[in-house]
Symmetry: C2
Subunit: 242 residues, 2 copies
Amino acid sequence: MSTMTDARLPRYYLIRDELHKRILNGEWKPGELIDAESALADRYGVALGTMRKAIAQLVSEGFLERRHGVGTFVRRANFESSLFRFFRFTSASGERVVPESQILDLRVVPANEECARHLELSTGDELIAIKRLRLLEHKPVQFEEIYLPKTLFEPLLETPAESLPALLYPWYEECCDQVVASAHEELSVEKVSVEHAHLLGIETGDPVILIERLAHDIAGRPIEWRRSRGAAERFRYHIDIR
Amino acid sequence: MSTMTDARLPRYYLIRDELHKRILNGEWKPGELIDAESALADRYGVALGTMRKAIAQLVSEGFLERRHGVGTFVRRANFESSLFRFFRFTSASGERVVPESQILDLRVVPANEECARHLELSTGDELIAIKRLRLLEHKPVQFEEIYLPKTLFEPLLETPAESLPALLYPWYEECCDQVVASAHEELSVEKVSVEHAHLLGIETGDPVILIERLAHDIAGRPIEWRRSRGAAERFRYHIDIR
DNA sequence: TACTTATACTCCTATATAGGACTGTCAACC
DNA sequence: GGTTGACAGTCCTATATAGGAGTATAAGTA
């Protein structure tokens, strides 16, 4: 709770930290109304403008939300938003679609060197390994290999594979108490292997997009390593430069 | 944008519009220093805080950039995030290099439907079309097709192709008074054609990354349409989410 | 010449204050 | 009972003012 504030930092920033702490330690819960900015300014002994700047900071960081004439609220965590950058499938009508999931394999395996490195484990540590196809209109669009540290995802082993949902992250949260808060994605292209061509229903030698993806929890610990392959043909990615 | 200011809008927002106009109409060019905020506050007859808020708005929109103790500048496009940066173009010593340019063709052509659409011209309007190879240690790594509206780039036609630099945007700025202020890039993958395979020195059927880029001036008018192809093997894109 | 210092300019933080704009509630009215 | 309107509470805009912090340049000094 250190008020050992570094005096060289601006005041509004120190107050941002104080408020931030009160959110993180649960004093103000998601969705709740916090004190009025004028009250907070008094309470912290700063001018209104300074308090507003501190709050504005937290708003821009996504922790708070203001409603004119009503109050300032702790923002509900908004996962689901788009922790995926690539492979966002859209239907003919243009809206986002979640491909169905068909589990091909689910077993406990010892971590190989690559998985261990990414998940920050030791080679040989137990992992849950999932292989699955993602389908759109019953046609395969993606083949995924997913690796999870067994210690964190025990409940998954007591779940029949058929009842795992297509969207895994909400399920991780509900059943394993593991929240994915950030991710790193790497995209490359390869010529499809015979095995993958067969799974994806494309010609041998066609290009596939390979996405390697490491997901982290709030504390930044890696909790899921995933490799997805899909036909490159329809793939598009775009960015704006300013 | 327009001075038909709606008095119901906040003042700082109206001033944002005024400043925005001065940027768009070229009074302040990209990279240039604008007036001090105190001077602007006087000039527009508002308090300093109000002017700062207007400027903050434009900063967050990416039009301006502040430098403490120095001044406020019109922001230049930052190509750090360009998709091109994810091609592995490194010299033997390991540092990033700008591939050399070898012009294969430069001529005036009538716009086809696709170019006309992107550049917001009419089919048949005159374009300057450039085809060139990008080389690294004398080996081709990228093939580019570039289309420019002839009316904006006349000086280019009086320049011998050999003397065009590898980096064109600074040259556009210097010789044609055209500043690239933003761009849109789209990535896709294709199996290389026989022609491109030959140019790039790769096997027929190998995957290539196709990047299409539309560059705009400060007012948002399209000024260059570019299509680049490079071996997918050298390409690896990565991104942090959240 | 080479280094230090002054200084003048920039943006940045912070205060105190006044009133406007928006929202939800509750009492008064028809 | 349903509508209206006052009201209190919230965030929002705007002003005026003071001094701090960072930067570049020019003047002064060894």
